[in-house]
């Protein structure tokens, strides 16, 4: 059992006693209880929303700041001092419940309208999208939702520059709102809203897609049919509930064939915007509608499902999504994606299996309850065993660049007095992060879940490290340069507030202890801290400028250090 900070573990009895085999009983105890509690499934389509029982779990362990910091590094866009206290007070499970009950303050769309970005002059621009996204990621109190929503956006992709519409900023915002609104909902509902979202229709080109034309020989666009199955729900190969490949005669078994793609493509015909009025962005927020004359009237056969001839577009959509949602792959597929995005690049099969079981049934018979899934991801013993994670030389994940920026911004209360949030597009790989929220060029996103840096010890060990797809000679340096600039100058009136930390700047050890917790969940070793301390101590603390430079140096070196960049 890990001992750090105050080192005290207070074990109390819990209604769900942990199994004897568990090396980290408290976490699983909470997790198991959470399973029983998972009835708070909320807004699911397939089953009536169960009534949420009152929380019965009291924190059974005094959570240390280090433990809270690591948990928050997995579950938020960055920990603030207040967040750490909140987790310590409420417990992991209690904090999750509190976050599940935190409503969104405002949709991206509504904020952008309120801020006046819907003026006609913006019809052909992207203006307003970046400020709204950064504002919520950094300033939102619904941090778990922001983080889970970004995890979803990492693999259910609409990139603003790939939209061929006008009002791109609103189209992209409406899509992101779907992800954020459904982050704690049911995956089936999410799939429905993603599918009818105009941004997705544009990005994957089925908006305006029409049925086969026997005269010209034209056939339906297959783009959405393929990527919906490959990237958002099922993957290429049939997998067991623990994510491992099913094999047949030594070979993996394909989930679907080209015929399935062509068959499913027939469902995604006839979908279009519900208005021709482009004077306002409104039609990009409303779900697409189906034009019967453009919808395929023949049978649609895919994944051993047959939709009879003359089924309407709306009914076909329901039947198709039902079939995909019922496919056994979806539970381990989605579970692994979320574990990789939040906790670790290389979850054990057992971990995937435990989360997938919750996806399949939240304990109340509801499939696809994302609240229960998120709870299972974050409270699993493999996620919460701090001692094992920090001792391992292969665990954890590379923090994705966006989360590094937001983590710094949240730790130091960076905000924009005029609400301009002028951070902008951070996707440049030579001057910025090589990643920017909602700006992936491709539906294959910034990195692939199975990516392994070739010719590396990671590959030799048979592990994956998706975020390394963005790691190259230019990007490792560009990131440090960009953060150096942001730390000191911010962007426009987006600036950090170092008042509190500057008070500690004269005492380099105290300064670094504080930053180590705030940014790195205390994962920087004493040796690294000593290295950075030497740098800080080389700057005189006798002047305000010196104190500022000590703060800048300490923060930048922490943000640049490998022990920070790889979240254990």
């Amino acid at each position: 059992m890990q001992s750090d900070d105050d080192g005290t573990l207070v074990l109390t009895h819990d209604p769900a006693p942990p199994p004897a085999s568990n090396a980290f009983p408290t976490a699983l105890g909470v997790g198991a209880a959470a399973l029983a509690l998972a009835a708070c499934g909320g807004d699911s389509t397939p089953a009536a929303p169960p009534v949420a029982p009152p929380p019965v779990i009291v924190p059974t362990v005094k959570i240390t700041p280090t433990q809270a910091g690591r948990f928050l590094a997995q579950s938020t866009m960055g920990a603030t001092a207040a967040d750490i206290v909140s987790v310590q007070t409420l417990g992991f499970d209690g904090w999750l419940t509190d976050q599940f009950n935190t409503a969104r303050k405002i949709a991206h769309w509504d904020w952008m309208v309120g801020a006046g970005y819907n003026v006609v002059a913006n019809i052909n621009s992207e203006t307003g999208y970046d400020p709204s996204v950064w504002r919520q990621l950094i300033g939102g109190t619904d941090q778990l939702r922001q983080r889970v929503g970004m995890a979803l956006l990492d693999y259910i992709v609409v990139g603003i520059s790939g939209l061929t519409s006008n009002w791109k900023q609103f189209t992209a915002a409406a899509f992101l709102d779907v992800l954020m609104d459904n982050a704690f909902g049911n995956y089936r509902t999410l799939l429905d809203q993603v599918t009818t979202n105009a941004g997705m229709g544009l990005f994957l080109t089925y908006l305006g897609n029409v049925k086969a034309n026997p005269t010209t020989g034209s056939v339906p666009d297959e783009n959405y049919a393929r990527e919906l199955m490959q990237l958002f729900t099922l993957g290429l190969y049939q997998i067991n509930t623990d994510g491992s490949l099913m094999m047949s005669g030594g070979a993996p078994i394909e989930t679907y064939t080209q015929d399935d793609v062509s068959g499913l493509a027939r469902v995604w015909t006839g979908w279009t915007l519900d208005s021709t009025d482009s004077t306002t962005p409104d039609r990009y927020r409303r779900p697409m509608v189906n034009i019967a004359a453009n919808h395929e009237t023949g049978t649609k056969v895919f994944l051993k499902t047959t939709i009879p001839a003359n089924t309407s577009g709306v009914d076909s959509k329901k039947l198709a999504l039902d079939a995909i949602f019922a496919h056994p792959n979806i539970a381990p597929f989605v579970s692994k994606q979320l574990i990789q995005r939040l906790v670790t690049s290389n979850p054990s099969p057992a971990y995937i299996g435990r989360v997938a079981a919750v996806f399949a049934d939240n304990g109340s018979g509801v499939r696809g309850d994302l609240k229960a899934v998120v709870r299972a991801v974050l409270l699993d013993t493999e996620a919460r065993d701090d001692a094992a994670a920090t001792a391992s030389t292969t665990s954890g994940k590379l923090r994705e660049p966006i989360v590094r920026l937001t983590g710094w911004a949240r730790a130091y209360a960076a905000t924009s007095a005029t609400d301009a949030w002028a951070i902008g597009d951070t996707s440049s790989s030579s001057t910025r992060l090589a990643q920017s929220p909602g700006r992936s060029q491709s539906v294959f996103s910034w990195f692939r879940p199975g990516y392994t840096p070739p010719n590396s010890a990671i590959a030799t060990a048979g592990l994956v490290a998706p975020e390394f797809q963005l790691t190259s000679e230019p990007t490792v340096v560009a990131y440090i340069n960009y953060m150096q600039s942001l730390i000191v100058s911010g962007a426009g009136d987006f600036k950090a507030d170092y008042t509190a930390i500057t008070a500690k700047a004269a005492d380099s050890q105290a300064l670094l202890d504080d930053i180590n917790l705030s940014l790195a969940a205390n994962q920087l070793s004493a040796a690294t801290i000593a290295q950075i301390k030497t740098a800080v101590d080389s700057i005189a603390s006798s002047t305000p400028a010196g104190l500022a430079n000590r703060v800048y140096t300490a923060i930048l070196l922490v943000l640049a250090s490998p022990e920070y960049l790889v979240l254990k």
């Binding site: 061929t164 994957l204 080109t205 305006g208 010209t216 020989g217 034209s218 056939v219 339906p220 666009d221 297959e222 783009n223 393929r226 290429l236 080209q258 391992s392 292969t394 994940k397 590379l398 790989s429 030579s430 060029q441 294959f444 692939r448 199975g450 392994t452 070739p454 010719n455 590396s456 010890a457 990671i458 030799t460 490290a465 390394f468 797809q469 790691t471 190259s472 000679e473 230019p474 490792v476 340096v477 560009a478 440090i480 340069n481 150096q484 690294t528 290295q531 030497t534 740098a535 800080v536 080389s538 700057i539 140096t553 070196l557 640049a560 250090s561 490998p562 022990e563 790889v566 254990k568």
Partner: protein, 458 residues
């Protein structure tokens, strides 16, 4: 480069591998080096892969032009076909006409490449694509031969093109050529150079891919001697981010960072002292930006002690499921403008016959249109460009223009009649890969008869 320099570089590299290969027996690394040392080169050559991400639409890139063929083309994709009159200016006149009166025209936007074709510096490869072994339509339908896994899937076919293996491949054929030649280069790191981010194509079993931006390497902290006024802080930063680590993710991060810092001065200095290229490259064209830095790196190849280099550049946006008529021609215009300028730059630098560029893409697309575009296909047409190219000629077999005809598996998805391995082997042979080493670079090349491993276009 003198022998002594080569030897020193080789020894230095052996030591570095010994440290980096903690998870691999040292003997294996030596074996890798030994194999690599087998390929030697005295002159300079560069291969440049131009990857068109998304799956380029072959039929609107190289369009059937004789009346019979054009009419077949037009009837299969009436919504997105070029008008025949728009193709007359770019109709190709190969040195030896194709059989049966078959003619092709370049897409109008490819007009800048016409003169290069006529000058014999551009060759056209017909219906090339991913295969494990020679495959007929009947064999495909009967599933009686091994096929590349996950045909029609972007990421997997990109990977198979580059690596002969679907997504998750650990090395590509550009990188495997790098394995053979890096020991002859003064700086092994600068053997496989990516101006477009990260691609498995350029990763070898031991060779790494070095990534460079269109403006060159990126300086840390403006290459300043101090950080926030402190030289100690600057030193601490540089030490912290580049030192070996025991945690393997951390170590990979510092390994890349160290490479970035170590090569910065060397490459920047060489580029600064290199010749000024006066050839005008198109602006607002990211492919041209990438090819310009490739030309600049080639221009200083000698200074950097390079004998063999493989480059990778790319352009995205070719997944033209819709609005193909509006979106595809501008992409081709970028490709043509960038390739033409690059070729001209190699002429200016006096290295045209030492540099061969070739196109590649995820797959071809359907010949039959959907409402306004085309969908994922398989075989496609590609271009090979350079002073050593035997151009003004078509290579390979012209596919039947049909829907579910003899050469397609439906909708004009072509069964490739030439495998990527044959295309690659031809380039590799020119590059200097021996026949004995071809199977190291291209694991499936043994499935093709010796006489069909070199298509003769370069």
């Amino acid at each position: 480069m003198t022998l002594d320099q080569s030897r020193r570089a080789f020894l230095k590299r052996s030591a570095a591998l010994g440290i980096a290969g903690a998870a691999t027996p040292f003997v294996l690394n030596l074996a890798g080096i030994g194999e690599a040392a087998a390929a030697t080169a005295t002159d300079y050559k560069a291969l440049v892969c131009i990857f068109l991400f998304g799956g380029n639409d072959y039929a609107n890139t190289l369009t059937p032009y004789d009346t019979t063929s054009y009419n077949a083309y037009q009837s299969l994709r009436p919504n997105i076909a070029y008008a025949r009159t728009d193709l007359s200016a770019t109709a190709l006149n190969p040195a030896t006409p194709l059989a049966g009166g078959l003619q092709y025209a370049l897409a109008p936007a490819l007009a800048p490449l016409l003169a290069t074709f006529d000058a014999g510096k551009l060759a056209v490869m017909l219906n090339v694509g991913t295969l494990v072994q020679p495959t007929t339509k009947a064999q495909y339908l009967a599933k009686s031969v091994k096929l590349p896994p996950k045909l029609f899937s972007h990421n997997d076919q990109q990977s198979f093109w580059q690596a002969s293996s679907p997504e998750g491949a650990s090395s590509g054929w550009g990188g495997r050529m790098g394995d053979l030649f890096q020991s002859g280069n003064g700086t092994a790191t600068l053997t496989c150079i990516n101006a477009s981010g990260n691609a498995v194509f350029l990763t070898g079993k031991t060779a790494i891919q070095y990534s460079i931006t269109s403006t060159g390497p990126i300086a840390l902290n403006s290459n300043s001697a101090t950080l926030f006024g402190s030289s100690a802080a600057n030193t601490a930063l540089r030490t912290l981010i580049a030192a070996p680590r025991t945690e393997i993710l951390e170590n990979e991060l510092t390994r890349v960072t160290k490479r970035s810092l170590d090569t910065f001065t060397q490459v920047t200095t060489a580029l600064a002292a290199g010749p000024t290229i006066t050839t005008a490259f198109p602006t607002g064209n990211s492919l041209a930006d990438q090819l310009k830095i490739v030309a600049r790196m080639i221009s200083v190849g000698q200074e950097l002690g390079a004998k063999r280099q493989v480059f990778f550049v790319s352009l995205g946006g070719f997944d033209t499921h819709e609005n193909l008529v509006a979106t595809h021609p501008p992409l081709l215009a970028k490709v043509a403008g960038a390739m033409k300028a690059f070729y001209d730059a190699t002429v200016e630098l006096g290295v045209a016959d030492r540099v061969t560029a070739f196109t590649a893409s995820d797959f071809g697309r359907t010949l039959v249109n959907n409402s306004t575009g085309s969908d994922h296909g398989w075989g496609s047409m590609h271009f090979v460009l350079g002073g050593a190219v035997k151009g003004k000629k078509f290579y390979g077999t012209p596919p039947a223009i049909a829907n579910n005809g003899p050469d397609d598996v439906g909708q004009g998805r072509l069964v490739p009649t030439t495998g990527v391995d044959q295309y690659a082997a031809t380039l590799a042979s020119w590059f200097g890969v021996s026949d004995a080493n071809l199977s190291t670079v291209l694991p499936y090349i043994g499935n093709y008869g010796p006489a069909s491993r070199n298509l003769g276009f370069v």
